[in-house]
Amino acid sequence: MIKTIIQSIKATMGIYDARDDGVYGLLAEFTNPGTLITAAREVHSAGYRHFDTHSPFPIHGMDRAMGLGQSKVGYLTLIGGITGLALATWLQWWTSAIDYPMNISGKPFFAIEPSIPIMFELTVLLAALLTVGGMLAMNGLPRPYNPLFYSREFYRVTDDAFFLHIAASDSKFDLKATETFLQDIGATSIEVIHDHGYSELHITEE
């Protein structure tokens, strides 16, 4: 039970378990953002869920094509901001009005007006840090080990290549059938990725 929950959470980060025989998934290359987005749409409507597209830059409309909703990072920003504001208010009130009240030019020990700059700064600071921390957590980064890096072609993903990866952990995954399916939707080359440090490259005949 717990294992399934952990697996599904990891799947949202793009981290999938390899099959018992070590197959991690199929990595298909597409020629350009246009064919990649069409392929993603096909893969999603064929019922696959454990898949992801990889590209050198974000492609507009890909979230919708993959059937993903809005990113949830914004909630963390809000939580961070509220925490920062509360912390700054408490810090300035407690230190100067409670713990060590000191008369400075007859000013009130605590007032909102002179406290605003630091309230603002800490709001922004905690909101920013929680946003970034939350983004990394939701993406499962840092992730030094990724079986996809065993691929012989995948290094070009940060340059000019476009890939679609269907994980072996998907319930619809079948090595032969999925490979044929990927060929049908226009993949130019398909690799079987193994979790043990190697991959098999299959080039589609034009």
Binding site: G14, M62, T77, T131
Partner: protein, 469 residues
């Protein structure tokens, strides 16, 4: 042909953001290449000069800490001399980067992608220089942590009603958020360098800093949202930093400082000087590294327009200050301003006026906006003018205080001058290392503004229908 197509077809096409017909791979190659080959000999020569200046800075900091702040020209009545002038100068320069990356991002100014990385780097290095000066100016630098709310044996806390403490928070928060913003923006590009790296050591280092980035769309989704949110957070932040810096002056009761116009006027000045510095550095970098197709003349022209706008705003503020001093009917306030323009520091005042208000006005002429030598010279003049602005504000308001018997003329010492020169060494050394080891242009973002990045670019067009993209 539908009527809507007719309508969109009449919109004049924007000039391309990237010239020279470059593809995705060309951009990767053009930018990454410089981190992989031996740098040009100009790089080594500049590094030699800047690291010499940096060594001078470090030696002088040692000298200062050993002897105390008496080695500077600061004395009664001018207690805030060059260190504070330099602090405000550097913080100001550190504004353009985050402005370009955050505000222009929110306004969908896509031309920013070519310059945002280097401008952000410059921001961070300028803020490092800025943080240095108040740190050593406190005198007893070994207790600088007293500015932070840390529990201590005295059971005392920082004085939260002081603008100087607000400044500590504002500048350090700005530094932290800018650094995070810069780094997060760089992760996909570090992954590009990682995937191109041939030696294992380099691949390990880049692998560590690129966090295992694989360009996954599930990651881009959260990443893009984060970038947007950080831009939204950094926008008020960048406007607040120089506002808070101006509070150091404006919250006091010194004539010439006690002005409500200070926050917007300081922010405009900061953007003004920041863009000038970006121009100075990029004009050199694009030439030396041959990336004129990515950082095009159109980018420089747009920066010139922003310089013209902010320079005029700053000039307007100078005149407003004068008007308000007269209009207030406060004798001291009036004297402070008359003294600025005609007193012993009149030379500094008129340098400031001509560099900041007059020179940018040449940018009304399109030919001059697109002339590289003219842009280069003006960008340097602007920064000279902006340094003098801070000098005028700080020194002329202090040197003749309420008691004429204590009036004095401020003179910097050799330590003041060499420390300021040394801070340029720190700045330039960091910037040169950045150019050598990091992707100086945001590759992933530049690829995104190419028409080929749009999935609809590949749609089959009806022959009769003109393409609107």
């Amino acid at each position: 042909m539908s009527t809507s197509t007719d309508h969109t077809a009449t919109i004049p096409a924007e000039p391309p953001l990237v010239t020279g017909n470059l593809g995705f791979h060309d951009i990767t190659q053009l930018v990454s290449y410089h981190t992989e080959k031996r740098p040009p000999s100009v790089w080594y020569m500049t590094l030699l000069v800047s690291s010499t200046l940096l060594s001078i800075l470090l030696i002088l900091i040692g000298y200062l800490v050993w002897n105390g702040v008496g080695v500077w020209g600061n004395n009664n009545p001018v207690g805030w001399g060059w260190p504070i002038v330099n602090f405000v100068f550097w913080v100001g320069i550190g504004h353009a980067g985050t402005l370009i990356s955050a505000i222009l991002f929110l306004f969908r100014q896509q031309w920013r992608t070519a310059i945002n990385r280097s401008a952000e780097a410059m921001t961070i290095f300028a803020v490092i220089c800025a943080l240095l000066f108040p740190t050593i100016h406190v005198g007893r630098v070994w207790v600088i942590y007293w500015t932070l709310p840390l529990p201590n044996q005295m059971e005392m806390w920082p004085q939260f009603k002081s603008p100087l403490l607000w400044d500590v928070f504002a500048v350090s928060v700005y530094f932290t958020v800018s650094l995070v913003f810069w780094y997060i923006g760089m992760v996909p590009d570090l992954a590009t360098l990682r995937d191109r790296a041939r030696n294992t050591f380099k691949r390990r280092i880049l692998g560590f800093f690129s966090l295992g980035w694989s360009g996954a769309n599930r990651h881009w989704r959260n990443y893009e949202k984060t970038y947007l949110l950080l831009a939204a957070l950094a926008t008020p932040l960048v406007l607040s930093v120089h506002s808070v810096v101006s509070f150091d002056f404006a919250v006091s009761i010194i004539p010439g400082w006690h002005t409500t116009i200070f926050p917007p006027y300081f922010v405009a000045g900061a953007i003004f000087s920041g863009f000038a510095m970006v121009m100075t550095l990029l004009i050199l970098a694009r030439r030396i590294y041959g990336i004129e197709n990515i950082i095009t003349i159109d980018h420089l022209e747009k920066m010139a327009i922003i310089t013209l706008l902010t320079g005029t705003m700053v000039g307007f503020a100078y005149i407003t200050e004068f008007f308000i001093a007269w209009y207030s009917q406060v004798e001291y306030e009036q004297y402070a301003f008359i003294n600025r323009a005609t007193g012993p520091y009149a030379w500094a005042y008129w340098i400031m006026m001509s560099c900041n208000l007059l020179f940018p006005q040449f940018f009304w002429v399109k030919r001059l906006r697109r002339s590289i030598p003219f842009l280069f010279v003006t960008s340097i003049i602007v920064n000279i003018g902006m340094w003098f602005e801070r000098f005028v504000i700080t020194v002329t308001s202090l040197h003749r205080d309420f008691l004429p018997s204590s009036w004095d003329y401020f003179n910097p010492t050799w330590v003041d001058m060499l420390t300021f020169a040394g801070s340029f060494g720190l700045f330039m050394t960091l910037f040169l290392l950045f150019l050598r080891f990091m992707p100086m242009v945001a590759m992933a973002e530049v690829k995104m503004v190419l028409p080929e990045s749009d999935p609809h670019f590949y749609d089959d067009h009806d022959e009769s229908e003109p393409s609107t993209h």
